[in-house]
Amino acid sequence: MRNFYLIFKKEFKSYFSSPIAYVVITMFLILSGYFFYNTFALFSTISFNATIDPALAKQVGLLNITESVARPLFGNISVILLLMVPLLTMRLFSEEKKSGTIELLLTYPVTDMEVLLGKFLACMAVFTIMIALTVLYPILIIAFGQPEAGPIITGYIGLFFVGASFVSLGIFASSLTENQIIAATLSFGVLILFFMMGTSVSLMGPTIGNIMMHISLIGHLEGFAKGIVDTTDIIYYFLFIVLFNFLTLRVLESKKWRG
């Protein structure tokens, strides 16, 4: 337990002793802020026009600030996370492999599990800070409207699961190689695949389409953004996270069995 905490502390600190965390968080906030501004501005323009043009009001139907501003926010943030999280995870094992520090780390009296958990949670901590800073957007929504609190809270829970999934896959990619660019490319590629799977459902047959819908990372976020906490979604993310952490452990252990 103590070892895990020491590794966590060291990794967390090292995010902030290099510019990585600052750069990633800044870019993330710029992008998410820009998306948020767009949806909010669009919503207010449509709302304003609808008040003076009843025909338009009929056409766009129900105008709801929760549905039109808060809900897309989580989808947008998750896309930006897709681009940012691999940059946070890529160095976690690759760098240790490249510089050789993994040799010292793994000859200290720590288990592979403690090392992995320390790194995983350190990255999750940075991720949480990143996400926590976006709370400004719901606050702005609340300042100018009356959104429902429920979907916003569940949306954040969903984002947290999505983030943890990204992190576990990113760390797995990082454990495979000593090259950070390869680690990042692998994470981007696999994450985008998992993300986009849901969009090709209509092209597939009903059976495969259904399976792909269920495997898709983004499909499971929609429920959360709508305010629905479905155990299916929770179990999906949970399994995703456990699977990739398990694979990472196996990679760490495989040095023992190889050649």
Binding site: L6, I7, S14, S99, I102, L104, T107, P109, K255
Partner: protein
């Protein structure tokens, strides 16, 4: 303290260790000698539980490296060859991290780190980032992290490589000071280092142990014959004849071609078992010549090494 029995290791098809056996007593400093690629680092990585052997057994302080790696690691201080350290940490932070993770109690960490920084002369750079340090200082940080939990066993892979002569002397002194208190294995391919610091030498070549002994015994064992260098003032021809007549002498060679003030230098080889030094002096004196110098010529460790390694 350390028992290694018939270790083998394959890297894919490459057979890196082909049955390495040796043991180290508590408090000894063992020199691990061999050309590049002989299997020194591989053996050390097995002992530190970085990876297990393909077959064979190794135990440190009574714990098997494969069965109880965590117990072994608790008792080991390891300095890998290229001294990999976290460059984005300061010296002090890194040592605090190492102390904590190696099981030094929370309250004692500060004291342990201060002590080890003092021992390794790091106090002046404690606040510096490791990335800013010179090679010599990094080496010392590496040694400090190995020492910080006062482990029973120290495993040092080429601890003096890449240092300047002054730093080499300092590091050797530091290692020598540990003798008796700690069991040390150090690998090197600098031979004088071994004769200066180690009580026991394991010479390894091509994945096999070719010799295990004290540096002194190795010298006499490999030599096969004792050699002396002798300087005598007297007629060269007669001197050689007289010396060859002494019982036990097998060969006399004149070393210098021209005599300076009648003094000649000769190499005498004799059978190992017989100390001929006692017999030489009276013979020379009886002839009325002057015995200027008589000293044993030892084979240097370098000669032994080359002899052992090229024998195969």
């Amino acid at each position: 303290m350390i028992e290694v029995e018939n270790l083998t290791k394959y890297y894919g098809d490459y057979h890196a260790l082909k049955g390495v056996t040796f043991s180290v007593k508590k408090g000894d400093i063992l020199g691990f000698l061999g050309p590049n690629g002989a299997g020194k680092t591989t053996t050390m990585r097995i002992l530190t539980c970085f990876f297990p052997p393909t077959s064979g057994k190794a135990s440190v302080a009574g714990f098997d490296v494969f069965e109880e790696p965590l117990e072994v690691r608790k008792r080991i201080g390891y300095l890998p060859e290229n001294v990999p350290l976290y460059k984005d940490m300061t010296v002090e932070d890194y040592l605090i991290f190492a102390a904590g993770i190696k099981g030094v109690e929370g309250k004692k960490i500060k004291g342990a780190v201060a002590k080890v920084m003092d021992e390794c002369v790091l106090t002046d750079v404690s606040y510096k980032f490791i990335a800013e340090l010179s090679k010599g200082y990094r080496q010392r940080v590496g040694l400090a992290q190995a020492l910080v939990n006062e482990p029973e066993v120290l495993i040092l892979d080429e601890p003096t490589i890449g240092l300047d002569p002054k730093q080499i002397i300092e590091i050797r002194k530091l290692i020598k000071n540990l003798a008796g208190r700690r069991t040390v294995i150090l690998s090197t391919h600098i031979l004088p280092e071994v004769s200066m610091t180690c009580q026991k030498v394991v010479i390894i070549n091509d994945g096999r142990v070719v010799a295990v002994d004290t540096p002194q015994n190795l010298t006499s064992r490999v030599q096969g014959a004792s050699r002396f260098i002798i300087r005598i003032e007297g007629p060269s021809h007669e001197v050689i004849k007289t010396l060859e007549a002494i019982q036990g002498v097998s060969k006399v060679i004149r070393r210098d071609s021209h005599a300076a003030n009648g003094i000649g230098e000769y190499t005498i080889e004799s059978l190992k078992e017989r100390d001929i030094r006692r017999d030489i002096a009276p013979v020379i004196v009886n002839k009325g010549w002057a015995l200027i110098e008589l000293r044993p010529q030892e084979m240097s460790l370098e000669d032994i090494f080359v002899k052992l390694v090229t024998k195969e």
